[in-house]
């Protein structure tokens, strides 16, 4: 009965979302002749002020040809040089006159490097919307698509979030072609495979999947490819959308992919056998499969001495623990398990708390909420008044609350350390995760002391143990423990003994 109800629901939903039909209809419209096709496209796109339909003849008096494109996206100079001029020149006429008008003949005349055939109008419309030019000619049974997309936006950029002291200072931009070029520069390997997909039913966006055929496992690539093909959404504006669609568990707050703005990081991960995905319009790449330990690795780790890197990685993990657990630990100690602290420290804590009107858990929640509000506000505050507001916020939180005896000075230190520690991890998504965990642990500590903290952590570890990204366990290399993989976990081995085996380890774990 459950199955029947589900079937009926699917039918009702399909009926309600009639837009699906429209998409499916337009995607299956075959070419029916020059005039019909041109008219059709003009009807569909003619309302747009930047739509252009340039009609001319092959040679002087040859067949009619229409070049349809969007002025805002296509490079008109390229259209003129690579399409209109060659096709309308006398030489073209001579060439065509001696042969029948055919696709090959026309294609040979075009001086563009990218020319493809299309046989349905829906696809043709999509390509026009991507900035390419569609050529329809009398006598031709196919439409030709010529790559004429203009470069819009930034050419290259410097990293804004993942900054490093050493190493390249280049970041991805919104243009997929530019990003492709950046990766090609980093990985000029013949084994680099790039697969292209168009994602999104309403607003298709081009996506590219990168991997090295000799390092990535076939099964992982196949699984990833299938996941991408299974994506069925209206539109995708950012790679972050893909995170929940491709990831193992959409409800999990744990980042299940690395998002990076750095081409060097992508290339490093490709050389470890991972797969990267880039989406047109997004300046971030998504890298899979990833594990929890990868979130604590910075691209700059490979540009510094390996012992320094080891120390930094260890510090990041400690910082993550501090950022999530320190406020909860403070509450547990001051409310339940005071005996853990050394005696003198305990008396200092108790003295600091004397006269505070709120219980420790309320006091801590208040401070954390205030700090989080300040953080959120700082993201959106105009630069001109940002400094002033920052000073006021710092004064209020740092001094006024203590003077007013609303919170204890020790708590201000605890909360500050906790918040600042969350930014010590290279991956910004971990900051959000740390916030979520912080409040959960705090609530648990307030109710059940350290056992509450332990219970939440046990639940978190169980959840992480259940996650597998493209067949690779999320807790690798600790669980399952593989000693060979530990060489790039916290401790980083010197470069000469790294890399080629990394991919092998990843293959073993998947």
């Amino acid at each position: 009965m459950v199955i029947k109800v589900a079937e009926w629901w699917d039918k009702i939903r399909a009926w309600l979302t009639g837009g699906d039909k429209l998409v499916s209809e337009t995607s299956r419209i075959p070419l029916q002749g020059y005039e019909h096709d041109v008219l059709y496209l003009q009807e569909q796109l003619g309302h747009a002020p930047d739509f252009a339909a340039r009609e001319f003849r092959l040679g002087v008096n040859g067949s009619r040809v229409a070049a349809l494109y969007l002025r805002s996206l296509a490079d008109e100079k390229s259209i003129a040089n690579s399409i209109i001029m060659p096709l309308s020149s006398i030489a073209a006429l001579v060439d065509i006159a001696t042969r029948n008008t055919s696709v090959d003949a026309v294609r040979n005349l075009l001086s563009s490097a990218s020319v493809a055939d299309l046989s349905d109008l829906g696809a043709a419309m999509e390509r026009i919307l991507l900035g390419e030019t569609v050529l329809l000619a009398e006598g031709l049974k196919v439409a030709l698509v010529v790559g004429t997309r203009a470069s819009i936006g930034r050419t290259t950029s410097t990293p804004e979030i993942e900054t490093t002291v050493f190493g390249p200072k280049v970041a991805f931009v919104e243009s997929l072609e530019t990003n492709l070029a950046l990766i090609r520069q980093q990985v000029p390997a013949p084994t680099l495979r790039i697969e292209t997909f168009d994602l999104g039913r309403r607003n298709p966006r081009r996506a590219m999947m990168f991997y090295l055929t000799d390092l990535a496992t076939r099964e992982t690539v196949a699984e990833f490819r299938q996941k991408i093909k299974d994506i069925d959404v209206g539109s995708l504006l950012e790679t972050e959308y893909l995170h929940t669609l491709i990831g193992k568990s959409p409800w999990s707050p744990f980042p299940q992919a690395i998002h990076t703005e750095r081409p060097d990081r992508v290339s490093g991960n490709l050389l470890e056998g991972r797969i990267a995905l880039l989406l047109d319009g997004s300046p971030e790449a998504m890298i899979l499969p990833t594990g929890f330990s990868d979130l604590f690795q910075s691209p700059g780790d490979y540009y510094e001495h390996h012992l320094v890197t080891t120390l930094m990685r260890a510090l990041r993990m400690v910082a993550f623990l501090l950022s999530t657990t320190l406020p909860a630990f403070y509450v547990a100690i001051t409310t339940f398990n005071y005996e853990v602290l050394p005696t003198d420290l305990l008396f200092a804590v108790a003295s600091a708390r004397a006269g505070i009107p709120f219980p420790p858990v309320i006091e801590t929640v208040l401070m954390l909420v205030l700090v989080d509000i300040l953080q959120e506000g700082a993201l959106r505050i105009p630069a001109k008044i940002g400094q002033t507001v920052g000073v006021v916020g710092g004064f209020v939180l740092g001094q006024a609350v203590i003077l007013a005896r609303l919170v204890s000075p020790l708590l201000v230190i605890v909360v500050s350390v906790s918040v600042i520690s969350s930014f010590a991890t290279p991956d910004y998504r971990v900051v959000g995760l740390a916030r979520l965990l912080r409040y959960t642990l705090l609530a648990a500590a307030g109710a059940l002391s350290g056992i509450g903290i332990a219970a939440v952590w046990v639940g978190v570890v169980i959840h992480m143990a259940s996650l597998e990204i493209l067949g690779v366990p999320y807790l690798r290399p600790l669980a399952p423990l593989r000693l060979s993989s530990l060489s790039d976990f916290v401790f980083r081995k010197p470069y000469r003994s790294a890399d080629p085996r990394q991919a092998k380890r990843l293959r073993e774990e998947s």
């Binding site: 853990v340 602290l341 350290g450 903290i453 639940g459 169980i462 143990a465 600790l478 399952p480 593989r482």
Partner: protein, 364 residues
């Protein structure tokens, strides 16, 4: 929610360790010393070595069915009636184990830390976490066991390190203080601490390399026996047998005495870290219980069954039972558990051998 099932040998070993070490170690030195006196550590070592043999026999039994766990081969081996009875007994044993594990841990916490918190709340939390651990499947459970093991190990080493502050005369004479019957009684009392290694029957079919299973089982049992023995030695040397037999949970007392300049007492921290191992133990038993239900009711869905079993056992968290009584009951239960597993291994092994031989002859 279930993950792909492949276990490494290390995971196999850690799963066995996690299934064995939970609450029993807190009271093990006292329980063994009550009967065996100063020879308590000898009987613990002896019990461990005997059960190592039983574990290896169980491993051999599992190796005859490399694709199935007892839920699969139970009926095939023993027939529909005897097989079902056996599965049902096994299932009940698992349920008791889960209830005891969570109740004892909850009682220890309420005794030492949270005096006014109802132990049913704490037991409920342990049960909930165990359900979560069981539902993610054997691979996920093994990964969780690995992490718990790594977190727990430093505290165990801290317990063993208190041996340095003990007195040698508390350990002497090694044998000679008590008679053989008292030694055997001590070994029997220590049984509860060794209960749980039969998880290997359920994890065997998921191994990457089944040929390494015996080695993993061997080292896991040796490790647990070593830890238990060293803990008993440390407790005896530290307290002496007269004082030791008056302490309900001597292992925790030893941890409470360990001090550093940064942390003055480790017993509270140890209890927090111990939660992971307790969840591994009860999680493995819950996993086994769920699989056994699937053996009795083949169409049962794993996740739903695990959740329903957890919900059913939630009833058992109600009420307050004194810790001493729980530990006493656990000692009796441990004897039953070990007897059940030992008899199963000993009786089913030759049966499995012949069934396996016959099936191979028939070309299956």
């Amino acid at each position: 929610m279930r993950v792909r099932n492949r276990l490494t040998s290390f995971q196999h070993g850690v799963l066995i360790i996690g299934a064995l070490i939970a609450n029993g170690i807190f009271s093990l030195p006292r329980v063994a010393a009550q009967d065996a006196g100063r020879s308590a550590w000898v009987v613990v070592a002896f019990a461990g070595l005997v059960l190592l043999i039983v574990a290896l026999l169980s491993n051999r039994l599992a190796s005859y069915f490399p694709e199935e766990d007892p839920a699969g081969w139970g009926l095939r081996l023993m027939g529909p009636i005897v097989g079902r009875v056996w599965l049902l007994l096994y299932f009940l044993k698992c349920c008791f184990f889960i209830v005891l594990t969570m109740r004892i841990f909850a009682a220890i916490i309420t005794n030492r830390m949270l005096m006014h918190t109802p132990s049913s709340v704490l037991a409920g939390i342990v049960l909930l976490l165990s359900v979560l651990a069981a539902v993610i499947g054997i691979s996920g459970l093994a990964r969780f066991a690995e992490i718990s093991f790594m977190v727990w190990l430093p505290f165990m080493l801290l317990v063993v390190a208190t041996l340095l502050r003990g007195h040698l005369f508390h350990l002497q004479p090694v044998i000679g203080d008590t008679d053989l019957s008292a030694l055997l009684a001590g070994a029997k009392s220590a049984a509860f601490s060794f209960a749980g290694f039969d998880i290997l029957l359920f994890s065997y079919p998921h191994l990457e390399k089944p040929q390494n299973s015996a080695r993993a089982v061997f080292w896991a049992m040796v490790f647990v026996t070593a830890i238990y023995t060293l803990t008993t030695v440390a407790a005896l040397a530290f307290f002496g047998v007269e004082h030791l037999t008056r302490l309900l949970v001597p292992t925790l007392v030893m941890l409470s005495i360990a001090e550093t300049s940064v942390i003055e007492r480790f017993d509270s921290l140890a209890l927090f870290m111990w939660l992971g191992m307790v969840v591994v133990t009860s999680g493995t038993q819950l996993y086994m219980g769920t699989r056994l239900i699937q053996g009795l009711i083949p169409k049962a869905n794993f996740e739903k069954t695990a959740v329903f079993l957890g919900a059913f056992l939630l009833v058992s968290t109600w009420g307050e039972t004194p810790l001493r009584r729980l530990i006493t009951f656990a000692d009796y239960f441990g004897t039953f558990d070990i007897l059940f597993v030992t008899l199963s291994a000993v009786l089913l092994l030759p049966l499995a051998y012949f069934v396996n031989k016959r099936e191979r002859r028939l070309g299956r």
